[in-house]
């Protein structure tokens, strides 16, 4: 999972794309945060994650997350376009199409 995500971030680093996590490792405690930082360093994570526990109810509860990982594909206008596509090739296709649409919208002058 993480190596593939890292490759996506790398591949689209100059494109209108962001991988945002919602992390449930308990980084609201010193211990959880220390462990998280160590693991994140090992996994060479370069992207940002929300701290799931920083809201009450937790973000994952508000979003009715029933299993991990759960994925939402959100377009440049903030609209959910896909949920739970997990196959790596399928992910790349779906995201590639969404990025193309975002670039096209950015290139179209607004009236």
């Amino acid at each position: 999972m993480i190596p593939h995500e890292r490759s996506l971030v790398e591949k689209w680093k100059d494109k209108p794309f962001a991988l945002i996590g919602v992390n449930s490792d308990g980084t609201n405690t010193e211990e959880g945060l220390a462990k998280f930082r160590e693991e994140a360093k090992k996994a060479q994570m370069t992207w940002r994650s929300f701290r799931d526990e920083s809201l009450d109810p937790k973000i994952s509860d508000t979003w009715h997350v029933q299993g991990w990982p759960t994925l939402y594909y959100i377009d440049h206008e903030g609209v959910i376009r896909h949920k739970d596509v997990r196959d790596e090739q399928e992910m790349e296709k779906v995201l590639g199409d969404m990025i193309a649409a975002a670039e096209k919208a950015a290139a179209t002058p607004k009236r």
């Binding site: 919602v22 693991e39 990982p69 377009d75 440049h76």
Partner: protein, 263 residues
């Protein structure tokens, strides 16, 4: 539903009859009301589960270290004897409201005891569909309906019956809430999602208990805001380092939002 709520509802009942209870090294109660019998059963199950968990974790760790397959204990929590006990306690109160919590216990805690669950659901449907006690056990039907294909139909039948015909508004509302939630979780088509939505919207019009309305509203949030085609709800929260940021900061970009953890 919390155990405290169930306990409170059980306190309202007149014990059908007292039974003698023994075991666990506790002094035998000569006069045991249904609530105490139920609490004892839950307590001894929880104790057995926590003992089992410790043992299973140790066994799993050992297997991992030695590179051997996971031992059978890991997937076998000790539920069987408690399910059997609940069946006995329910049978002693057969046909009475006091049997309902024990039938609910079977639905809630069964692990592999599929036949016991099937019988419990059938008994709830045939003997207790209009009981005032049924509202409190209806939420326990969700898990078996999802897990055991053979009980899905019976659960749906019972939920339909209570949702349509129960004399008490909150029992009715609870059945609508559970049926709507179940429908939402299993929905594959827009039509099925629509049916789930109808149930959940109806809860507010039927329920007297505001907690049921709030739970239905929470489920509706998924339908209204988390479907494909919805504008994603904004997230305004802290990152893992404790720095504030917003999901909407990324408007203009495609965002892959990933709920994850190392664990």
């Amino acid at each position: 539903m919390s155990r405290a709520v169930l306990a409170a509802s059980l306190l309202l009942w007149t014990p059908a009859f007292a039974i003698a209870q023994q075991g666990d090294g506790k002094p035998a109660a000569t006069q045991q009301d249904p609530e105490a019998a139920y609490q004892d059963l839950v307590k001894s199950l929880n104790k057995a589960i926590s003992d089992w968990r410790a043992e299973a974790q140790a066994a799993a760790k050992k297997a991992q270290e030695e590179g051997t397959p996971l031992p059978a204990i890991v997937s076998n929590p000790p539920t069987k004897e408690f399910i059997t006990r609940a069946q006995e306690l329910a049978a002693e109160r057969a046909g009475k409201d006091a049997a309902v919590p024990f039938l609910g216990f079977i639905c809630k805690y069964a692990n592999k005891e599929v036949n016991a669950v099937k019988k419990a659901v059938q008994t709830l449907a045939s003997d207790h569909a209009t009981s005032p006690a049924i509202g409190k056990v209806i939420p326990f039907l969700t898990a078996p309906a999802m897990r055991f294909g053979v009980v899905t139909k019976a659960v749906n039948g019972l939920l339909d019956e209570v949702a349509e015909n129960h004399p008490d508004a909150d029992c009715k509302a609870q059945a609508l809430l559970t049926r709507g939630t179940l429908r939402l979780q299993t929905a594959q088509t827009d039509e099925q999602r629509k049916a789930a939505e109808e149930d959940l919207r109806k809860v507010a019009t039927v329920a007297k208990d505001q907690d049921l309305t709030a739970q239905a509203k929470d489920q509706l949030f998924e339908i209204e805001h988390l479907q494909v085609g919805c504008t994603a709800p904004d997230i305004v929260a802290k990152d893992t380092d404790g720095v504030d940021f917003k999901l909407s900061d990324y408007r203009g970009k495609v965002v892959l939002l990933d709920f994850w953890g190392f664990w």
